[in-house]
Subunit: 125 residues, 2 copies
Amino acid sequence: MAVNFQSLAEEFTKFYYAQFDSDRSQLGNLYRDHSMLTFETSQMQGAKSIIEKLVSLPFQKVAHRISTLDAQPSSPDVGSVLVMVTGELLVDEEQNPQRYSQVFHLVPEGGSYYVFNDIFRLNYS
Amino acid sequence: MAVNFQSLAEEFTKFYYAQFDSDRSQLGNLYRDHSMLTFETSQMQGAKSIIEKLVSLPFQKVAHRISTLDAQPSSPDVGSVLVMVTGELLVDEEQNPQRYSQVFHLVPEGGSYYVFNDIFRLNYS
């Protein structure tokens, strides 16, 4: 299966962060029961636990800005895609953005993709 | 297959960076012909091309220091592992470390693991 994985990664992250920044409670349909999220030092499995975690994060307003986005096919045959993002995050009334790194592992399912792995870390300097 | 993926990720990265920092020309046996490296804006496929790229990097001395390391199984059945590292890199006589993010996708083969995906980015502030 030939996938334009770079375009797919760009479309996915654009959609993901737009949805995250407007209403992150609606991200649940991007995860499955076996999906995993590592958010800083917390680990969750399953769409329900992942969304509970994301909704519980202690900010109201949030804006992601992507600095770099790289993608590679993560399997010789399945069509899955690995995405690494580095970027900046602006929360609430903060003036100084926080840098972050995030990895998504996207797996195809019925003509679309879901998030199998999601690892997020702030980059402290 | 039950894999202690966190320990595996720690052992792998410890070995990888120790080898990288002492003699990166010897990393070739960790990659295969279908392995991929994204190093900043360059993309390479295959152990030979990947090692040529790593050897050509314009520094003699290099030291990696890991700040965070997170791992997740990347497949429900195959035993493959996704690793995200954030850390600092000190090259040659530089006094100021550069921050970086790196993802490794490790795939089992004959009792060991090889690197299927490798994505490296410096984090500019």
